[in-house]
Point group: C2
Chain length 339, copies 2
């Protein structure tokens, strides 16, 4: 199996993706990595390691797409960028299972739309990050921001994608799928939620009803579905609040000698807290519903986070994720006619 990795566009440059690729081929004998980016720099970085040279390929790409550019313009015009070349490689080669990028989210989504397309029957692909929960668990959120102004049929597809993803990634037999809402009672929320609720009940998933944002990290749910606008608000407020709490803690630690001493003794605990909150440790956000596997990692991904993203693509490929979705869709006879 081949996986193509966009080695640029991330915050830290090629060091992290190179190290991750080396580790990936050492861990998995079935794997070959294709690195896209500046050939010379990549070769210099690779030279630091001993590895099977047949299992890491390079596609030379001199340009890099940044977060500041218009995603559509960049994907259309920067044909020599690491991301566009990676998508071309994914598109043109049967044996390439999927793509990992930690570059601009907008550009990755645009690339997936333009170069890869949707699984037959999926109305809209969606972004699905994984977050930590209480008691060491995790929860998946779909859609976290790729689609706004969704229709209930989109939400149903997100639910199917998320549920199948949770099964494939974490071997959860009956993932508990909830609808993001402003209360738990069946009739809560706005018009859109009422319609989604009724439609979700008909889907072949373990739909457990409405969930309040307060309980998102409780560990009581495996998959939370919503319009990408709501999902983005939820995801970003979790990020912002976690950072806020840690900064308040930091300020308070600095305020006295006693608490500084206490913090020194708690150093390991505080680092553990930070690690728990770092949801990139689970890998990137999968863009589910695209015809081939695409994982978007955080811009600041280190080698471990890159490796996790590569592992996500590998796991989903081995579980035949895209085909499973297609089969389920044709079985429940929804599909494009409603989309």
């Amino acid at each position: 199996m081949k996986i193509v990795v966009d080695a640029y566009g991330n915050d830290l440059g090629p060091i992290a993706p190179v190290e991750a690729s080396i580790n990936a081929i050492k861990l998995y004998n079935d794997l070959t990595i294709v690195l896209c980016g500046k050939r010379k720099e990549l070769e210099t970085n690779l030279a630091n390691f001993t590895y099977d040279k047949n299992r890491i390929e390079i596609i030379d790409a001199e340009e890099v797409i940044t977060n500041e550019e218009s995603p559509t313009e960049a994907v259309k015009n920067k044909l020599n960028s690491s991301l566009v070349k990676a998508f071309e490689c994914l598109k043109q080669n049967e044996d390439v299972a999927g793509l990992v990028s930690c570059g601009s989210t907008g550009a990755v989504l645009t690339g997936a739309f333009l170069k890869v397309g949707r699984i037959k029957g999926i109305s809209r692909p969606a972004l699905c990050p994984i977050l930590p929960t209480k008691n060491g668990g995790r929860v998946m959120l779909i859609d976290s921001g790729a689609n706004v102004d969704c229709k209930p049929i989109n939400i149903c597809h997100f639910a199917l994608l998320g549920s199948t993803y949770a099964k494939a990634m974490f071997n959860i037999e009956k993932p508990r799928v909830a609808l993001l809402n402003i209360g738990t009672e069946d009739k809560k929320g706005n018009e859109f939620c009422h319609e989604c609720f009724a439609e979700l009940k008909k889907m072949p998933i373990n739909f457990v009803g409405n969930m309040e944002a307060r309980d998102f990290l409780s560990g009581d749910y495996d998959v939370v579905v919503c319009d990408g606008f709501y999902g983005n608000i939820l995801l970003k407020s979790v990020e912002g609040t976690a950072l806020f709490v840690m900064s308040v803690l930091k300020d308070n630690i600095k305020s006295s000698f006693k608490s500084k001493l206490g913090a020194m003794l708690m150093k390991k605990s505080l680092r553990n807290v930070k690690n728990t909150l770092n949801y990139n440790a689970y890998g990137g956000a999968a863009f589910l519903g695209a015809k081939k596997l695409v994982v978007k990692g955080h811009g600041a991904s280190d080698a471990l986070a890159f490796l996790k993203s590569i592992e996500q693509v590998r796991t989903l490929y081995l579980k035949d994720f895209c085909k499973t979705i297609e089969e389920q869709l044709s079985a429940i006879q929804t599909g494009e006619t409603n989309g």
Copy 2:
């Protein structure tokens, strides 16, 4: 000035509102408090204090509305409940400035709708909690959940209410008002946001553009406006995430003797963090746009939180909040025709 306080319906019973009322009349010579609830219990609690008996009145009400009841049914049928009697007192007495309750949110909103009504020209009143931000500041969120399926005109009214509130409560000359969105660029978000953005630009407020949920607690904004559905997701995910981070911290502290010792030294700092995150310390959420001032405190409010809520009503009354809103609305010639 008289302020009526629902002394029941909160989690902790009459002790907190009684103590708060005693403190309030001692702090403010212009104030009389009307306590609604079980007369005998209130008298027993009041007997613990020395105070000017002419300045605390009691309205006997034997029943209590709970969170488990249907708000509409409860407000319509439980005529002898502390909350309904408090609203009757507010409605019938010219000299009663406003109402404080820490009971069921739904019942307080229903009571305000049915018994008090809207300020002339305001399409929908909205709930506006105050949250802590970085560097010891605060941010107001309107609407945090009273209204779903809003129209742009509602959002404009929320902006006017929130901005005027920030001025009145915190003497902020030009409150920075932002629209909750999934990006900061002008054209970001869904159809609804695009319409709201265009309308907000026409309002006589300091509209600073779109804000991402990640920056809600950054201290860069004074008032954040949104549909109550979005606002509720934002508010509750802030609450849930703060609790989550604190629980992860607690679990990690327990994991070793060294970190337990560290936590002991940091006790004061950790308590400060908890206090900072406790946004009820700022008082309750004002229900802005109702014809008279209504403040809904948290169910678990202690005497200090009750006092802060009483102070909110007093401040807004002295600043002639409701009349200011009415005048501004008629000046900008929007009003019911668009609503």
